[in-house]
């Protein structure tokens, strides 16, 4: 982090004649002021605080002030609430409720067995089916999940990574059966395996074959599903795991660089696949630092794509992102306070120019959200979008000495981190070396110590504590009926399918995995034959092996 520049005379005079006499009477309330990420903050920012003002305008390189010249004046951001729990029937009902409440996009949360490529009857799935998201084992579940929802009438985001290609194949076959053409589909596949190794740890295969699945999706979509966002390069989970804002930005953009490099190395045309890369950031508590982070992200990515990769098309330079408010900032104590935290975080995401937004529900430190809590989260965005004037002017903080300076500082700090990873040979190498994992664990512990010492106040937790026993809201409870229902359906699917067709499709998948051939066509055939997620992943586990992390504290 850099110190403030040598003060120019006007500022110097103010400090000497105005500030210092005032401080002699009453000192400031603490000796240093820092952001949530530990970045020192001066008391006053002036023209002299900013080395050179970014002269760019919205809609032009490097897009610091936004991707679109009209900002949100043409269309506000997309309200996209992440949801999924229990059986596909239960989640399908929640989607219909979210759409009727005015939601404009769907976002699927899968349960842990699905995320880990395990079927509901796998011994490791015991107790986890439908708990953290919806259970999807085969095409039959995917058909139920989207029953009554035309796939060309919604855009769908799917948070799935290690088995992303398998789940995406299921979505494509559901579209096929609805008579919806693939080129008319829009949505996003998270498909970001690198941040799984770094932060969220839902990995299956080792990094290199995992990267091949990612580039297979890039290649397939470029030819067949051109409007689909093939990846959502995600800082969200990195931040939730404890990183600072600058680390979130740096690791995410460096992951983005890794994907682009692997795509180019796989022989793909950067101008074709780069515009389908999207991003996903956390909207955390530190209001100004977060706005600066989003502005810096756009500027850095535009430069990376133009200067590092030589992309010529503006669409290849543009960083489009989804934001979600910080789950980690929510408290189990006095849960209604979470509504306020979420609203302020959402405000930062919007002022940072997000394309879509998920606002967390107030009860998420306790359980998955209830319907009432999920609706309030949507209403929070609608109040911001329609009652506050927030969408009227583009990049309202552009030109703020404070925000411009923070934007520059966070960019410099993130650049230094990405250069460290370059020197290691790339992100796959850095992950194998444990570098980002270590840095994040250290930052998480440093933060927790600050909370412990009450250098950071968490309202309701280490200050303004109240006894709220008995006042916690009702929460959603997933009972064991979900697992039973999913086991029954799985048995029916396995009994009802054409066994020969299914076996042949899985053999073809194995052959594709063994060769350099794109795995997507064989995955589609396996899905059509009702092969399960677990069966498809088992085939690939046998070919590629499984990744195991070395545990470190």
């Amino acid at each position: 982090m850099e110190g403030t520049k040598v003060p120019a005379s006007a500022r110097e005079r103010w400090q000497r004649e105005v500030l210092e006499p005032s401080l002699k009477k009453v000192p400031e309330r603490q000796s240093t002021f820092t952001t949530v990420s530990g970045r020192p903050i001066d008391g006053l920012y002036t023209r002299e605080s900013v080395a050179a003002v970014d002269p760019s305008v919205p809609g032009e390189f490097p897009y610091t002030r936004g991707l679109y010249p009209e900002g949100y004046r043409r269309k506000p951001w997309t309200i996209r609430q992440f949801a999924g729990f229990g059986t596909p029937e239960q989640t399908n009902a929640r989607y219909k409720q979210l759409l009727s409440a005015g939601g404009t996009g769907l976002s699927v949360a899968f349960d842990l067995p699905t995320l880990m490529g395990r079927d509901p009857d796998d011994p490791l799935s015991r107790g986890e089916v439908g708990k953290c998201g919806v259970s999807v084992a085969s095409l039959a579940d995917m058909e139920t999940l989207f029953a009554g929802i035309r796939l060309d009438a919604v855009s769908t985001s799917m948070t799935i990574n290690a088995p992303a290609a398998m789940i995406f194949a299921m979505y494509l076959v559901v579209a096929e059966r609805q008579g919806v053409s693939w080129p008319s589909l829009s949505g996003t596949l998270q498909n970001d395996i690198l941040k799984e190794f770094i932060a969220q740890k839902e990995f299956i295969f080792p990094p290199r074959p995992s990267m091949r699945l990612v580039t297979d999706v890039f290649d397939f979509c470029a030819k067949q599903v051109p409007r689909w966002n093939t990846i959502s390069v995600s800082g969200y989970h990195i931040r939730e795991a404890g990183s600072t804002a600058a680390q979130e930005l740096a690791f995410t953009l460096r992951n983005g660089i890794e994907y682009v490099q692997y795509g180019i190395d796989a022989g793909l045309d950067v101008e074709v696949f780069a515009p389908r890369i999207s991003f996903f950031f956390n909207a955390h508590n530190d209001f100004f630092e977060e706005i600066a982070k989003f502005r810096a992200a756009r500027r850095m990515w535009a430069r990376v794509m133009r200067d590092r990769f030589g992309a010529k098309e503006p669409r290849s330079w543009q960083l489009r992102f989804h934001a979600q408010t910080a789950g980690v900032s929510l408290t189990a104590q006095q849960p209604y306070n979470n509504v306020v935290r979420t609203a302020v975080q959402a405000l930062a995401a919007v002022l940072g120019g997000t394309q879509s937004l998920h606002t967390n529900a107030l009860d998420e430190a306790l359980a998955l959200p209830t319907e009432a809590a999920a609706t309030l989260a949507v209403r929070t965005q609608q109040v911001l979008a329609h009652e506050t004037g927030l969408t009227d002017a583009v990049d309202p903080f552009g030109g703020s000495w404070f925000v411009e300076r923070l934007t520059d500082d966070i960019e410099h700090e993130a650049l230094a981190i990405t250069e460290t990873i370059d020197r290691m040979g790339g992100m796959v190498e850095a992950i194998e070396e444990g570098y980002p994992q270590r840095e994040i664990a250290q930052a998480a512990y440093t933060y927790q110590q600050a909370v412990e010492r009450r250098e950071r106040i968490v309202v309701g937790v280490n200050a303004f504590v109240a006894d709220d026993a008995g006042k916690t809201p009702d929460t959603l409870y997933i009972d064991e009926g979900t697992a039973e229902a999913q086991l029954t359906r799985l048995t029916e699917v396995r009994a009802g399918r054409d066994q020969v067709q299914c076996r042949r499709a899985l053999e073809a998948l194995k052959a594709a995995a063994d060769s350099r051939e794109n795995t997507m066509p064989t995955l589609l055939d396996a899905v059509r034959a009702y092969a399960t997620v677990g069966e498809m992943c088992d085939v690939l586990r046998a070919v590629w092996g499984e990744y195991e992390e070395t545990p470190t504290i």
């Binding site: 842990l112 067995p113 995320l115 880990m116 395990r118 490791l124 799935s125 015991r126 107790g127 986890e128 708990k131 953290c132 799984e196 969220q200 740890k201 839902e202 990995f203 939730e240 795991a241 404890g242 980690v328 929510l330 408290t331 189990a332 104590q333 430190a365 306790l366 359980a367 664990a441 998480a444 512990y445 927790q448 412990e452 968490v458 309701g460 937790v461 280490n462 916690t472 929460t475 409870y477 997933i478 992390e549 070395t550 545990p551 470190t552 504290i553």
Partner: protein, 134 residues
């Protein structure tokens, strides 16, 4: 003799921030901490506790699978005759209705989000069983 603690993450969930933070906090408080890593079965956790002569097992569970994992772990401790020798504590997202059930199983320390690290250190120090000699 420092208190020996096995910190484990059972189940399929990979969110290890809490496990790692508490492992460091216990280590900084002078305890000897063994972190098992991700996706450990109750069998593996009990085996690790035996092998490491652990007096404490700390589980981090955020996925809602605690009512499957905890009874199995306590059953295994019973079978090994360790139930009265090893203190078991759990941290994570645990619905309030499940806390008394965990207590009844013999898991007295259930720590929800927002618990100060010092409170966990103090609980372990106050409730740890005398060192077993094997």
């Amino acid at each position: 003799m420092p208190i020996r603690v096995v910190i484990a993450k059972p189940g399929l969930d990979g969110h290890d921030r809490g496990a790692k933070v508490i492992a460091r906090a216990l280590r900084d408080a002078g305890m000897e901490v063994i972190y098992t890593g991700l996706r450990q079965t109750p069998e593996q956790i009990v085996a690790a506790a035996l092998q490491e002569d652990a007096q404490v097992i700390g589980l981090s569970i955020l996925s809602g699978a605690h009512m499957h994992i905890c009874p199995r772990l306590m059953e295994l401790l019973d079978q090994k005759g360790l139930r009265d020798e090893v203190l078991v504590v759990v941290g994570g997202i645990i619905p309030g209705v499940d806390v008394p059930k965990l207590n009844e199983m013999g898991i007295k320390g259930v720590f929800l989000p927002g618990t100060p690290m010092q409170a966990i250190v103090d609980f372990i120090s106050a409730n740890v069983k005398p060192t077993v000699t094997t």
